[in-house]
């Protein structure tokens, strides 16, 4: 066994001993449950890498991403990260999507003093991961607070709260409950991916609340709205950002009329966003803009800036340079200044549906 491993290792080193590139690692869900998203992230990352290299690369060398598949599992993420750190010896690694996989790996990055940066993980626990861990994606805390503010601004003193039973839904709901001052008349979770939510809607209907806060995804949200409408239950629905999609309106039909949600705003009319959109369409003519692609794209540009400014390509100097590079860094998704936890801030806007169209205001 050992022999085989050694031979394989030797082959690998022989194969990759090409000078002239600066490498960073990426633990990505390339297969398994959430691989659909992984492909999109990879496209956005590759687009940004291409731009960085066309603009001169890192100190004259090309930037290269070493992808490792995490099979969408925690164990796979740990394996992938261990390999990137101890075999490839990379000072910077991009963390996996899904908060549970990120949380399983961030203690290793912290222990091994490797700069670890995520573009999709929202769990609030990530803030306490350590000083080498960063993310360019706003924490759950902020979005939960955003929804609570929305409910208060619209002057709802009583709401029913329902959400998807996973790390994302529960995290948001906890932040919401902490912030919201009104009364929560009913609270329960529901499972992801069901075709029928009538019993959940009956439970909501029992209390007849004026507003329902529903922290949901596209498919689940669409199904719920439609079935509630069929059951003549028409409260004011308040949603989060994950449901903000034309697909939801398509699924729910006229039931989507008048729903209100929050989303982390970044100016979509800004030149940066237009540039990203056209560059993406040019490189991948057949692909739609991937979800969270903007965050991945920004992350690479920010990393490139940090790598260029770093005194040496060691994790400590990259870490210091990353913090200073982020201050006032304007990306597609807005200001990416890291706070002391390595988190970014976000401002939340409102979206609603009118005449079958999503309106941002």
């Amino acid at each position: 066994m050992k022999k085989i491993v050694c031979t394989v290792l030797l082959c690998l080193f022989a194969g990759t001993a090409v000078a002239g590139t600066v490498k960073i690692g990426a633990v990505q869900p390339l297969s398994g449950k959430i691989s659909v998203y992984g492909e999109g992230f990879q496209r956005a990352i590759n687009l940004a890498v291409e731009e960085v290299n066309n603009a001169g690369g890192i100190k004259g060398q090309d930037l290269e991403i070493v992808y490792e598949d995490n099979l969408s599992t925690a164990q796979g993420s740990v394996s992938a990260l261990q390999k990137l750190i101890s075999i490839e010896k990379l000072p910077v690694v991009i963390g996996p999507a899904a908060s549970s996989n990120f949380l399983a790996t961030c203690p290793i990055a912290e222990r091994e003093k490797t700069v670890f940066i995520g573009a999709e993980s929202a769990a609030s626990d990530i803030s306490t991961c350590g000083s080498y861990v960063f993310r360019v994606f706003p924490s759950d805390m902020l979005q939960g607070i955003g929804v609570a503010k929305l409910a208060e601004e619209l002057d709802y003193k009583e709401v029913a709260l329902t959400y998807i039973n996973n790390d994302w839904g529960v995290g948001l709901a906890n932040a919401f409950k902490e912030k919201y001052k009104g009364k929560i008349v009913e609270e329960f979770t529901y499972d992801e991916g069901k075709a029928d939510y009538r019993s959940e809607i009956l439970r909501l209907k029992k209390n007849n609340p004026a507003a329902v806060v529903n922290l949901t995804y596209i498919k689940e949200g669409g199904t719920m709205l439609k079935q509630a409408h069929e059951m003549k239950f028409n409260p004011q629905w308040l949603l989060g950002s994950a449901a903000k999609s034309p697909k939801l309106v398509e699924l729910a039909g006229e039931a989507a009329e008048g729903i209100i949600g929050t989303y982390p705003t970044f100016s979509k009319t800004s030149g940066l966003y237009e540039h990203y959109k056209t560059a993406f369409a040019k490189k991948y003519p057949d692909e739609k803009l991937p979800i969270f692609g903007e965050y991945n794209y920004d992350m690479i540009h920010l990393l490139a800036k940090a790598l260029n400014n770093a005194d040496a390509l060691t994790s400590d100097s990259i870490r210091a340079s990353l913090i200073s590079a982020s201050q006032g860094f304007e990306g597609v998704t807005g200001d990416l200044s890291f706070d002391e936890n390595g988190d970014v801030g976000a401002s939340y806007g409102r979206w609603s549906v009118k005449d079958g169209k999503i309106i941002e205001n």
């Binding site: 066994m1 085989i4 491993v5 394989v8 290792l9 082959c11 690998l12 194969g15 390339l30 297969s31 398994g32 691989s35 992984g38 492909e39 991403i65 070493v66 992808y67 490792e68 598949d69 099979l71 599992t73 925690a74 164990q75 740990v78 394996s79 992938a80 261990q82 390999k83 750190i85 101890s86 075999i87 549970s100 949380l103 399983a104 203690p107 091994e112 769990a123 626990d125 039973n165 996973n166 790390d167 839904g169 529960v170 995290g171 979770t189």
Partner: protein, 292 residues
Amino acid sequence: MEYLLHIGIVCLIYILFASSLNLELGCAGLYNFGHVGFFAIGSYTTALLTLSGYSVWFGLLAAMLVAGLSGLIFSWPVLRLTGDYFGIASLAFAEMVRLFLLNERWLTRGPMGLPGIPRVEILGYSGNTVTLLTALVITVVSLFCFKKILTSPFGRTLKLIREDEHVARAFGKDVVSFKTRTMAIGSAFGGLAGGLWAHYLGYISPNDFSLQLTVLVLLCVVLGGRGTLLGPIVGAVLVVSVGEGLRFLPLPASMTAGVAHIQSMLFGLVLILLMLRRPQGIIAESHLIQET
């Protein structure tokens, strides 16, 4: 080399996990498709205890006890079922455990999982080397226990039950009692493996304990050879190292997405070939050796 240490630790945990299943599946012929449930119980028991301040060693012991007790309670009613019905009930049990962990948020934090589980620490050292040594000692001691069980009259009776329950009954053996005890022992060691897993990864969430893990560990046992001591060891080492070895295939970046599919296909192919050519697994059970 941290990465090799990592593979070593994962191998050892899988060996322990597969060997505990082997006791049930290989020796007693109990098709337990819910072994991951006991693994999860062990993980959460020690995680919750150590997070509230108890030592890792106490946590691991408690993981064994609670998982073993769950195995006992589970098998009490279920073992009155035989064959396929037992398999289905065990599958349902694992799903019940997962749903419990997912929904009882006051205890388990539900889908948020448990972060910050302490690592194994000896004399102030808590690196991967220490974890590897601990896992090695625990696994070797456990394997020694399995060896004792396999070669004892108890183990031989289990094999008799596996081959023909009626004969066992005719010899005056209380079949249900034997099976119950096997389930309790197997579950206890499964829980111990789960405990090691929790202390190694440092973070667990209910979704780690899905059917996928059950299939993987079944593969370890069936591939290596049911009913033998060496079989699950060989199976576990093969399954883990083939999975990790595929990372080193010199493929272009655009192809990496295919690696996991290659892995699944490879495992599938190996299983089919095995069924056709060598249904007893890589290490075949030798009745002569077992008897002496």
